[in-house]
Amino acid sequence: MTAPTIPAQPGADLSPRPLPWRRMAGVTWRQHRYALVGVVVLLGALAVWVWTAGTSLHNAYAAAVACHPVNSSACVNLVVSFNGSATDKFMGSKGAGGVLLQVMPALIGAFAGAPVLARELETGTFRFAWTQGFGRWRWALAKLVLLGVVLAAATAAFGALVSWYFQPESGANSQIPGLYEASPFGNLFSLREVTFPAWTLAAFTIAALAGMLIRRVVPAIVATLAVYAGLAFAVAAFLRKHYLTPLVTSNINISLPGGSTAWTIGQWTTKGGRFAFAGNPPDSLVNQLCSNVPQDKIGPLGFAPCLAQHGYTQWTSYQPATRFWPFQWIEGGWLLALSVLLVAAVIWLVRRRAA
């Protein structure tokens, strides 16, 4: 019979110093390695796809920009070709590829975060983990922070790739006529260097809290996806445009589709300093003042040029592209604060929980 070799030391353990945090690194890796590897493989595969699409976009841009003279048909053809790639809409915020990418923070966060606590509670292994010397809340905090940092790093790298992808549409070469430019707010804003990690961490911490409350893995994943969907929709549709008070201009070209990097929030028209109407002009006014405008002269700016000749001024509230980084930090900031709050709630619940 084998005998224990280390004798007991009775006096040493009355007020023990806590075990060092770094010990949890190996424990977290062993327990969550498949989830972490899965996330890396997924992001890697998506990165290959984004990189491939982005390379062809960048090549088309470089060709269009380098072409001289600018007005020759060959150069115009290159511009057209670039515009076609940029507007195929697959990768835009509303395109199929873009929308599918935008569910990534939810999937990554939910599948990585929900099992952390829910699996232990569902299978009963918390009765092992929470009776070790490390202590239960320190164990939980170390795991959540370690996993969170790894996820944040991986998603930040991917976010940089996304920003690289959209860089040709930033309007840097606006002297070339007809070259497509778009607002960075509409180009996968939530998947950039700051917002992709922030949204992923938010989903991750929502999932951890859901796991702690629901105590079963699959329902916790479902709940996380539902909460994330609601939050993401609310932010994209209502919150984001108000992070900073929008600027207002009477320049109607600010909302030219494909010709401006500004993010149009609202439009209204005044006459003689008094409010006339919001959005599109009423039919009666158009019939009265602009009915002789030939159909093919109604460009992307609608009836604004025609009405302008009759004393109407169209005002546009917008966010300029220069505010992209402040908006990234604002959104990243409050999402990070939310994540910290949720982690604190999880830790509080772990400390409190009666088995």
Partner: protein
Amino acid sequence: MNVVEASGLGKRYGRTWALRECTLEIPAGRVAALVGPNGAGKTTLLNLAVGLSTPSAGAVTVLGGRRAGSPAALDGIAFVAQDTPLYKTLSVADMIYITRTLNRRFDKSYAYARLEDLGIPPKRRAGKLSGGQQAQLALTLALARRPRLLVLDEPVAMLDPIARHDFMATVLAAASAYGVSVLLSSHVLTELERVADYLILLSRGQVRLAGAVDDLLATHGKASLEELALTYLRETPAEVTR
């Protein structure tokens, strides 16, 4: 020193009291058996002692006055829960790594040597071990932590008679040679007979009897633990003897 001291300890789930008015002083250096029918509150009492639950009434301290569940208590107590929960997808070696890393003291060579004696390969996934092997693994991990108190919840339920015998022999050896106090719950009275020298009888959430086995047998005029247990578990609450 008392390894477990409870005064007026009670735990309520909803409106049901799983344990009430539990007052105990289990001295150190004993192998204490917690005996009672299913639903008596054995698991509840053990969960309170190791800090997995918090009391609804009263208090419990361990290892000479430390609060149950505090870092000092966690340090000195090794717990093997019912159904020996292990991370089924991790290997035996991973389980050793995790236990070693999450605790102050861990005797790695002892753990590996004992597993080799038992014929449990370190690379195998814990979920692929037989029920008996899982119980042995859990006990090995607990003993390797060199605890002052070993708490076992129905540890031999999954074991065949030979494995049971070996298991209890290991527990006894640890207790006598290395000063590990043991608190284990079971309803297999015949096994406890050879091993336990302190008895706590629990029925319907209340302590019926508690004391050193020899004293209790002498006081109540019974010949064996089994006889003692069966008598007192059938009757209405008797006075608690120390």
